[in-house]
Structure formats: structure tokens, C-alpha cells
């Protein structure tokens, strides 16, 4: 089984020719499109989408990720083998969450031209290198036959939320097509706190709801989304458009815990 995650769109010959190459090498392969609508050359977006889907697939799945602004430059193409999966991607950090999630993995810089198409263009390695390599991997070619193990691959830091005493400061890392704004704050961090107050874009939300319908239609809310992250949404609406939230916007969560409240009351008494 092979999945495809690219920024090639669904309107051109790019995806179709990749599939043609794959199926010419292995006509019995099952190809699953994750999406081809990653914003053009947006590595961060590709990385996030991959993180969200890869682990739902059966063991042995080959995940092919082609978000590749450096195509034709001297960036490497890498194959990464984890315990359960194979990944094929340009070495530009698009696999950063894989490195983070998997304790044990091996990175190979691909050089075995014998597995490329006979003619390799400078602008479309998806068809000329990624697809034929993935096809041959699906037939059982060993990744050690594709090139040398490589240790200087790009491994960008994952921006984690900053945690102070009663504060968590995070940011928006992804906006989905419903306009839900996904933060880098994981469910587990939130669940340690109580009596939360969430501030984003001068908007204050009074806590975490458990479903969209916990607020009225058109009202905004914070909830622990299906991504496993804190999300800012509007019930049956588009938080991105309505609240003007963009990727990179900061979000602050204050946990007004019991002790803090008591202190305040004592102060007032004085």
C-alpha cells in the first residue's frame, strides 16, 4: 500500500503520471491519496498533515511525501524506515514529526539511479524518482539498496508551547478547510489544568468545551479537537475567517487554579 501526500493539486498531469509510473512497476499496488492540496511548497503544512494520518495506516505502508521547493537543487531524497512504515520524501524537514514520534528509525539518502526513470527531469522528481522508487520498494527492494545511510538529514525543531506557572503560550500551526484553527498545544498539557481562560486575538474564551454544539450556532469556542490538539472553532462557522486567525497567531491559556483564587480573596479582605 502506498499513500501520496503532495502539493501537486488535482487539476494537472502531475498526480496522474506518478500513478501511471507506480502502476507500471507494480500493477497490484493500492494507492491512497492523502491530499494533493498542500499549499504550494508549504513544508510545514505537509509535515502536519502527514503526522495526522500516517499512523492510521496498516503496518508496511509506504508513505510518499512530495512537497519539494528544492526540486532540482542538490537536496537529497531520503527513505526513512521506522518500525512500522517506510517514508519517501525530500530532505527538507517535512518528516520532522516522524523523527519526533519514532524512537528508532533509519535514514537513507537515495542515489540508486537504476531505480529512477530513464530520463529524470529537473522539475518533477515526483514522477521521475519518487514514484519509481516507491514502486520498487513495494515490490520488496531493500532500502539499503537505494543508497547510503545518512545522519546529517534536516531535522527542524518542533515549536512547543511555552509553559509558565499558570500560563501556557502556544500558537496556531494549522487551519483546516472548515476554518478550525489548530494550535500546537496538546490535549495532555491542557488536561493538567483547570478553570481555564483562553486568549487569542483579543478574544477571551471561558474554557474548553467538549463539542461544537456546546455553544450556540455562530459562537466561538475552544475544544480538544480530533487532531489531539487544542483548537479554536465556531459552531457551524469558520473561525479562521470570522475571527481573523492565521497560522502563527499566539494563543495564551491561563489556568486560574484554586490557590490563586484564594489569594485574591485574601487581598480583597485587607
Amino acid at each position: 500500500m502506498i499513500t501520496l501526500l503532495t502539493d501537486f493539486g488535482n487539476s494537472d498531469f502531475y498526480v496522474g503520471s506518478m500513478k501511471g509510473v507506480l502502476l507500471s512497476i507494480n500493477p497490484h499496488i493500492q494507492i491512497v491519496d492523502i491530499t494533493h492540496n498542500v499549499s504550494s511548497q508549504n513544508i510545514e503544512q505537509g509535515a502536519f498533515l502527514l503526522k495526522q494520518v500516517y499512523h492510521y495506516f496498516p503496518q508496511g505502508t509506504i508513505h510518499v511525501v512530495v512537497v519539494d521547493p528544492g526540486v532540482g537543487s542538490n537536496r537529497n531524497i531520503i527513505a526513512v524506515e521506522t518500525e512500522k512504515y517506510l517514508f519517501l520524501a525530500p530532505d527538507n524537514g517535512v518528516l520532522k514529526y516522524i523523527y519526533n514520534d519514532c524512537s528508532d528509525y533509519r535514514v537513507i539518502a537515495i542515489t540508486a539511479r537504476a531505480y529512477f526513470l530513464a530520463e529524470v527531469s529537473t522539475t518533477f522528481h515526483g514522477r521521475d524518482i519518487f514514484a519509481p522508487i516507491a514502486g520498487h520498494l513495494s515490490l520488496g527492494v531493500d532500502i539499503r539498496d537505494l543508497g547510503e545511510e545518512c545522519s546529517d538529514y534536516l531535522k527542524p525543531e518542533i515549536i512547543k508551547p511555552v509553559r509558565e506557572k499558570n500560563k501556557i503560550m502556544g500558537e496556531i500551526i494549522y487551519i483546516d478547510s472548515f476554518g478550525n484553527c489548530i494550535t500546537n498545544i496538546e490535549k495532555e498539557i491542557i488536561q493538567e489544568k483547570e478553570k481555564l481562560q483562553i486568549t487569542i486575538k483579543n478574544k477571551i474564551l471561558p474554557g474548553i468545551e467538549s463539542t461544537y454544539s456546546a455553544v450556540k450556532r455562530g459562537e466561538s469556542l475552544a475544544l480538544l479537537g480530533s487532531s489531539g490538539m487544542l483548537e479554536i472553532s465556531i459552531n457551524q462557522g469558520n473561525a479562521h475567517k470570522r475571527l481573523g486567525i492565521e497560522v502563527g497567531d499566539k494563543i495564551v491559556i491561563e489556568g486560574s487554579d484554586e490557590d490563586k483564587d484564594k489569594k485574591k480573596k485574601e487581598k480583597r479582605k485587607k
Copy 2:
């Protein structure tokens, strides 16, 4: 075989993770995308699209419909078994045309958590409930093992055209991506009438054409479309944009039959 009809779009991780879950449970299943571009939470649109496609699929197909504004509320998820197919959907009326088309069917309210993903989010039951249930159904699980039969499911009325003596009054129920405007007036009703005059949005059309090319390029026409319904179109153009027609707009068909014509002639004679 499993079909997917959702409003998740093609740009996010939603559809990809549903497919991952399905294929992890049954790697041999064939998944067919109907569309993932139903307008966000538009139950009517989902219902119409399903009606148009489901009966073309082979017997035994499992149709999974996730247009689910009530996700996370206490709405049921239901499995509906008809003579030829299985349907999986939220209980919000999106299956209304199925109830209408099929004389004999059974509705089960799904409660068998053993078939859900271990962790169920409040916002993405497509991945956490629909996909694993569909996967298990495709492996032969009996729908009676999923929950109790249920009789109080939502069964919204289907708006039928109003028929008076020489008039049929209907409305636009769907606009396709070519801008063709599809009414709720079925072919069979029209075919009883003759010498038709069609009024929509102050535009009068002189009858039913049999093909787009029966009128000049850019001219509007009424025809019996591939949906089996009366449609308003423009030859090689977009009737929705050019004529400003929207879903819900009324359409009136007058059948000036023989008798009526005779009466008019007699009046003139006097």
C-alpha cells in the same frame, strides 16, 4: 466495496485518516470516493448526491455518508440495511431519499463501542466511529451486532412539486458545478404534459429541449437532465451565475393543453 460521501474536503487529514482506519481493518477493501465537497454541513446536498449515485453500485456496497453538523451531540449514528445495500450515516435525514426509494429497510442505532476506535474524539466520528464500523461491516459483521433496531429515526419530508390543473409548481433543489439548476420535478410528471411554458426568475422558456445543443451557445433552456429531473441550463454556459438562480427558487410549468387553446380561440371570436 465502500463508498465515501462527506463534507470533509480534499485538503485536510480527515479523508486520509478515515481511509487509513478502513484499510487497517480490511486491507482488501475497495474504497470509492463519491465526493468530499458537499458544502459544509449541508444535509440536503448530501442527501441529493447520495440519491443520484447509490443505485449504480454493485449489490452489497456499503455507502458511508458523513455530513454531520451534530457530531458530538446526542444524535445517533445509524446503519440502514436495504435489499441491496448498507448505509452508514448520522441520523439527521441525510438518508431521506433512501427511505423514500426503498420499500423495505431496517434501521439500527449504533451503540457497539467495541467496534469504534479505542479513543473517540467528540468532533471527528468519521474516523473514530464511521470508518471502523464500515471496516468491520465489510468483514462480515452483522448490523444486528451493532445496536438495537430503531424506529424513531429522522425521516424528513421530501418536498414534492405542487400540481394544479395545468400547472406544476416546483423548486430548485441542487445546482451542479456546471451551473445546471436541478428542480424537484421528475421526468415522469413532465412527460404527461404538452406545449409547456416554463417560468423561472421572470424568464420564460418555451418548452423542453432534448439536448443542450438544441439552442444556440449561450442560450438558456429547460431539459430533462441526467438526474431524471427537469433542469434549467445554458448551452455551454452557467445558468446559476448567468440567470441568478439559487437553490429554493420557484419554478412554474404551465401546460397549455389543447382544450385551453380552443377556449381562447372561441373567446377571441366573440
Copy 3:
């Protein structure tokens, strides 16, 4: 294996019902979507996309192309058999590059109603004729059983670049979703020349680059693209939008070859 290339979009019931018909006839067929986003009724675009993908598929693939402004008129539907593939399309020129690429082929005008759906609409032959014919072909039906061989099929001329002494004059024939502007000037023609100067839309480009990253981010360049054609692009940008280039725009390539240079130098000496 069957590929689908249409202008039906991904939001309607059109593609889903085609697949339902195909799979009802042959449940074991593998269907590959090339794209359904050809601009509405744009035969040229469909023809170009087909040219780019068909030859990457395994021998025996059935390529179904439905870009069909004449649906319901008396245009023929044709099956074309080449050495390696079968093509199914309306007879409107959308296969022109196939005729050009393949020395040996046979064209059949399809008339065998026994293989159509029982009810054939006037507006959606994709579902009612193309899909069932393709399904039956995939089961081994001989194309000679579908109709008579036909010699008066539409074979539009392919616009070739004009070549003068030191000039090549071509035009833009396709713009992809990245905004790359693809010309009708093939790689092989360019490679004969040297010291090139390219003029398009009053913009002068100093030669052919080998990769996008040969110029700075945001700068325009000419390169030999993955289509095998000369393309005008912007590194990490959209040449179509930024330079205002449209399909049909003229492009002039001047090859300032050695002799010409020598002459200039001599002139200066005088």
C-alpha cells in the same frame, strides 16, 4: 485498469455514478482518476493532459476521456486502439495527440447500444455510454463488436512552433496550477540552439535554466519542464499571475549563434 479524465469536477454525482456503473460491470477493475478538473468543455486542455499521462500507464490500460461539449448532438463516440492502449472519447479532437504520437491505430465509431445503459440520457453519456462500454472492454469485449471502423474522425492540426533562421516562434498551450506556463516548443528543438534569448509579454529572459532554483526566489526563468516542453516559470512563484501570461500568448526565442556574434564584432571594428 481504467483511467478517467473529465471536466465533471469533484463536487457532483457525475464521477461517482460513472464509477458505480464501471464497478457494477467489473467489480475487479482498478480505476485511476487522472483529473476531473479540466476547464468546462475545454477540449484543448483535455488533449494536453492526456498526452502528458497516457504513456506512463501499463500496456492494456483503457483511457476514458470525457470532455464532451457536443453531448447529445450527433457527434460520434469513438474507441481508438493503439499498439499499447485503448482510448474512449467523443470524436471532437481530444485524442489529437494520440493520433500524432502513434503510427498505427484503429478508430471505431461506437454504435452497439447493447453495451450502453438501458436508459441513455441526452446529457450524461459519461455514465450512460462511456462507463458501461469501458467496463465491458475491461472484461474483454472486442472493440470490433462496438461498431464500424471509421476514417472521417476529427483530427485537428497540432499547432507547431514556426522556425526561422535564428528564431523559433511558439505559443503558450497550457498553464498548470502552479502558474507554470507551458509552450508548444519541444525540448529537442531548443537543444539544437545556443545562446538563447527568450521574449514573452515584453519580458526578456537571458537563456534556459536547468532548475527553478537557478534564479532567486521570485525571479522568472525559462526551463525545459517535466512536460518535455519549454516552460516559463517563477522560482517559488506563479508566472501566470505575476507576468500576466495566458494560453495563446506568443513566445519568441532568438538563438544568437556564433556567426552572428562574429559579424557584430566585425561591424564594431569598422
